[in-house]
């Protein structure tokens, strides 16, 4: 996480050789993305911000196959993996659709299927939901969430609520790593949020402003408010 222009996208591009570091070294699964880009790209998939500009082929299934074609996968296996990847993002039946007829969320899921077909170990997500409407965003997050524990996921986002389940959060600002925290701690650290132009989601923000500890859902927060009211009035907790 971090403000725009802070270096998040640059970091993603250094990780798979789209950019070359001026100094220092990058290693992905033991390979240097500069000298062995192909080895690194076989093992990593990048989901970009704007799915519109990442889809190559005029039909969904051909686009999902693109990465496999590049790897030289035989046709029979390609067919199996393309069908499987399209199913895994919930787009069965969309094989012959043209990308420009899809919604933003659907395009982003096609892009995700294209990555999953290659079976990468690492997924690099560069603000994949920022151009999407609420339902599209939910659907993409659900598919990404389903990959947890089976893949390493690096998720760049502006939306703190998308990171509530993360193991670690890195805050990047001004080209530097300024913090490494647990999501819960970040949410409660008003100064750190403010310095890095981060806006906490409504529920944790209300909870913090009311001095009520950490809450995730509106129901959690309402419960916490009511408990406080009853404590204050000395009434019994129903």
């Amino acid at each position: 996480m971090g403000p725009n222009g802070g270096g998040k996208s640059t970091l993603v591009r250094l990780l798979n050789g789209l950019l070359v570091p001026d100094s220092g070294e990058v290693a992905v699964a033991g390979h240097d993305p500069v000298t062995e880009p192909f080895e690194v790209r076989k093992r990593t998939g990048v989901l970009f911000q704007n799915p519109e500009n990442g889809l190559v082929a005029p039909f969904v299934e051909d686009d999902v196959a693109f990465g496999l074609e590049n790897l030289g996968v035989p046709r029979e296996e390609m067919r199996r993996r393309v069908a499987e990847a399209i199913r895994s993002v919930g787009l069965s039946g969309y094989e012959r659709r043209e990308p420009h007829t899809l919604s933003g969320g659907e395009k982003q899921r096609v892009a995700l299927a294209g990555l999953l077909a290659v079976e990468p170990e690492v997924l690099l997500l560069d603000e994949p939901t920022s151009m999407l409407d609420a339902p599209g965003r939910r659907e993409v997050l659900r598919r990404i969430g389903g990959l947890r524990r089976s893949k390493t996921v690096l998720h760049v986002t502006h939306h703190l609520e998308e990171l509530l389940e993360a193991d670690r959060v890195l805050v990047i600002n001004g080209g530097r790593l300024v913090a490494e925290v647990e999501p819960g701690r970040l949410m409660a650290d008003a100064a750190l949020l403010e310095e890095n132009r981060l806006v906490p989601p409504t529920v944790p923000r209300l909870a913090a402003d009311l001095g009520l500890g950490s809450c995730r859902t509106p129901e959690d927060l309402a419960g916490a408010v009511l408990r406080r009211v009853w404590e204050g009035s000395g009434a019994e907790i129903r």
Partner: protein, 271 residues
């Protein structure tokens, strides 16, 4: 000025295999000086509706009235000047080398003299909070700054009604908050704003009145309080919290915006 739509229908590509009915008999009005939030999902017809407010799209049937007169009777250029329409991702249409030149485009098209153009450009940049970027190349701005430059480009026409279609789409939450501040400032200065959005939390913050679109028709209309507390499935996070608390503490009232909600909850806890 007051814009009203009377039983407006809009059909795309009528009579072909691609015929799509986008609006199904929409009637609503934009009152002088208010912020009207239009919410609805993808395909609900809200963008099509927005483009009818200055007749960039014409109704297939039904009427659009401006201060009680049929808008078709007004000159096209006059109508477009009085009702400023900012589309989704408006920064895609920036074309001049510098911010101020781009913002000056619309007032120049209106045929104003150089002084008036300059004055309006400066004023619009001021409202959007980007006066310091006037001489910068448009391509050198951040996404949020480009968005504001594009909105300034429409505001420079001094419209009486400004229609913003998904003005915060694709922006980071901090830039979103800044843009909502711009909407509040415009209302203070007496400009009506029509805010088209799928984001309930953001509409809840600034709207005086709401119109909920679904399947090309108006599903609900009223103050945010009436609409949200009338149908919790449509409600933003603040209202969902408050409604849950009200089940056990009915004295809470019906707050909508973040600040109202915080204030009421504080009062409840405190006393």
């Amino acid at each position: 000025m007051r814009i009203s739509l009377e039983d407006v229908w809009h059909v795309y590509s009528p009579g072909t295999a691609f015929e799509t009915v986008a609006l199904r008999g929409v009637s609503l009005s934009v009152e002088p000086g208010e912020v009207l939030g239009i919410v609805g999902g993808t395909g609900s017809g809200k963008s099509t509706l927005a483009a009818h407010l200055n007749l960039l799209l014409r109704p297939t049937s039904g009427r659009v009235l401006v201060d009680g007169r049929d808008a078709l009777a007004l000159r096209k250029s006059e109508l477009r000047r009085r009702v400023g329409l900012v589309f989704q991702f408006p920064e895609q249409a920036l074309f001049a080398p510098s911010v101020e030149e781009d913002v000056a485009f619309a007032p120049r098209q209106m045929g104003l003299g150089p002084e008036a153009v300059e004055e309006r450009t400066a004023a619009a940049l001021g409202v959007l909070g980007i006066a310091h970027l006037a001489r910068r190349p448009t391509r050198a701005l951040s996404g949020g700054e480009q968005r504001r430059a594009a909105i300034a480009g429409t505001l420079a026409m001094r419209p009486q009604v400004l229609v913003l279609d998904e003005p915060t789409a694709g922006l980071d939450p901090f830039s979103r908050r800044e843009l909502l501040g711009v909407v509040r400032r415009l209302r203070e200065e007496g400009t009506s704003v029509v805010l088209v959005s799928h984001d309930l939390d953001e509409v809840a913050e600034v709207s005086d009145r709401l119109c909920v679109m679904e399947g090309g028709a108006v599903r609900a209309e009223g103050t945010p309080e009436e609409v949200f507390y009338g149908e919790l499935a449509l409600a933003p996070t603040t209202v969902r919290v408050a409604a849950r608390v009200r089940e056990s503490a009915p004295g809470l009232g019906r707050p909508v915006s973040y600040d109202e909600t915080l204030r009421s909850l504080r009062a409840l806890i405190g006393g």
